[in-house]
């Protein structure tokens, strides 16, 4: 019973946070661009989310006649499914965790790699030029950033001596891993932005060049699924950064662990939106060379030095 309650709770909270982020992002972008943002529907425009959802449900759900219908319908579901699955292994507090897996990091990396199928298949099944270009860019970006995303986490794994998220959090009782693993944190943050296709790394979408990239042909709730999937991914990456580098649910005892986890996650979500508000999108080849020539050697170096230090202390 308790188990089912936890599953339902995690599902409802993450989905409503992702939906609420639509409003949060629009308000915050407005805040940082000296505008006001949506403030008409409900108090502070909070019901904007409801209005958006009603609108998107009543839109015509159009499938282009030239599209590969089965794959076209399936693609938006993949991104939602993979991201929601990953939430299962995250420890929100001691005891509030769906699956205490001892390969949690591998599970997360595997799911995020599967998530790119959503973009590639969506771009491919749309059977239009811009969508295909977006899909190709998405897969190339994912290949690049997936590599050192995994490598940058290995430092944490070595220090905690575990792939289990809960044990990694418990290993940060003395000091958060962001201090000894600062390079790993920065690399993982950059890879995480690329993983979620957020600005400044949203080149699969790149509305300036590719209309809307991989979801050019999508409309109605299928587009909404991509949209909510992106916000879910932001929440996920923020939660994982908090779990791996910022002590997860650990914090002074005057607040319950769940609150600490939520607060830290919110700070990173806000940081993601701040990134979008301030940085321009790099060119496609700049992004690739930045990944392969700078971040990959840096993460390997980080891994090497962390290993050497741990070995010399033992």
């Amino acid at each position: 019973m308790r188990y089912i309650l936890i599953i339902l709770g995690v599902l409802v909270v993450t989905l409503s946070v992702a939906a609420g982020l639509i409003w949060v992002e629009r308000r915050l972008l407005a805040l940082w661009q000296d505008r006001r943002g949506p403030n008409r529907v409900g108090p502070f425009g909070l019901l904007q989310v409801v209005a958006d959802m009603i609108k998107i449900f009543f839109k015509e759900d159009w499938i282009p006649p030239f599209a590969d219908k089965g794959v076209f319908v399936m693609a938006p579901g993949i991104v939602m499914a993979t991201v929601l699955l990953t939430f299962a292994v995250i420890p929100f507090a001691p005891g509030i965790q769906v699956l205490d897996s001892n390969i949690a990091i591998l599970f997360f990396l595997g799911n995020s790699s599967l998530g790119v199928y959503s973009i590639v298949l969506g771009g491919w099944a749309s059977n239009s030029k811009y969508s295909l270009l977006g899909g190709i860019r998405g897969s190339a970006q994912m290949l690049t950033y997936e590599v050192f995303m995994g490598i940058s986490l290995m430092g944490v794994v070595m220090m905690a001596d575990s792939f289990n998220f809960r044990e990694i959090v418990e290993a940060q009782r003395k000091v958060w891993f962001v201090v000894p693993q600062f390079v790993g944190f920065v690399i993982f943050l950059i890879a995480g932005i690329a993983e979620t296709h957020r600005l400044p790394f949203d080149i699969p979408e790149a509305e300036g060049e590719l209309v809307a990239g991989f979801h050019t042909e999508y409309s109605g709730m299928k587009f909404g699924m991509f949209f909510v999937g992106e916000y879910l991914a932001i929440t996920l990456i923020s939660a994982i950064i908090v779990t791996l580098f910022f002590g997860g649910y650990l914090g002074p005892a005057f607040l319950p662990p769940v609150v600490w986890f939520t607060l830290k996650t919110i700070i990173f979500i806000l940081f993601f939106i701040l990134l979008r508000a301030s940085l321009p999108r790099p060119r496609y080849d700049q992004l690739m060379s930045f990944g392969w020539k700078i971040l990959l050697p840096l993460s390997l170096l980080n891994l090497l030095i962390t290993g050497a230090v741990i070995l010399s202390f033992n």
């Binding site: 805040l31 505008r35 301030s278 940085l279």
Partner: protein
């Protein structure tokens, strides 16, 4: 790297800046008196129509949105029988106001004239004519100079001399 962090910080500081947006329906923006908005027809200080139906505004209008028909009252004074402005065509350029010799047609600082039905954008004379003098107080075209149309006697205008006596030989 440093420039990226600086950009982030500067963008964050914008949270404390003054908003550029005006909260429009609650807070009305300031519009200068010579703002070019809804077009009106004004009256002279005596309460008569200023418009003399000279067609200059209709001729000056680049989108041909003004339509009128001249007629005369019992004193021979010209006035428009109908005066129609199609605001779905009007571009608010203000040329009609510049062309008008009697300050009759004027643009006002009012822009809230949306309609659900396009036909309602066509304003007739009773919609355009206001009871006041608009931007130019105290100006009465017929009192300055010109022919007697029941507004002033012959030679009684502000810039007029009384008419000379044709039987007098003196210069």
């Amino acid at each position: 790297m440093f420039s990226i962090l600086r950009t982030l910080w500067l963008t964050f500081l914008h949270a404390f800046h003054k908003r550029e947006t005006v909260g429009y329906p609650e807070i009305k923006p300031y519009l200068p008196p010579r703002y070019r908005g809804r077009i009106i027809l004004s009256r002279d200080p005596d309460g008569n129509e200023r418009c003399v139906a000279c067609y200059l505004c209709a001729a000056a209008c680049p989108v041909d949105c003004i339509s009128l028909q001249a007629t005369q009252d019992q004193n021979g004074r010209r006035y428009p029988e109908f005066f129609r402005i199609n605001f779905s065509r009007c571009i608010f350029c203000g040329y009609c106001e510049e062309a008008c010799p009697t300050y009759a047609i004027q643009l006002t600082p009012d822009f809230e004239m949306s309609e659900y039905d396009r036909q309602n954008m066509v304003y007739e004379k009773e919609n355009l004519l206001i009871s006041g003098e608009g931007k130019y107080y105290g100006y009465n075209f017929y009192k300055v100079a010109g022919v007697d149309f029941g507004v002033k006697g012959k030679g009684k205008g502000d810039n007029e001399e009384p008419p000379g006596d044709v039987n007098d030989l003196m210069p």
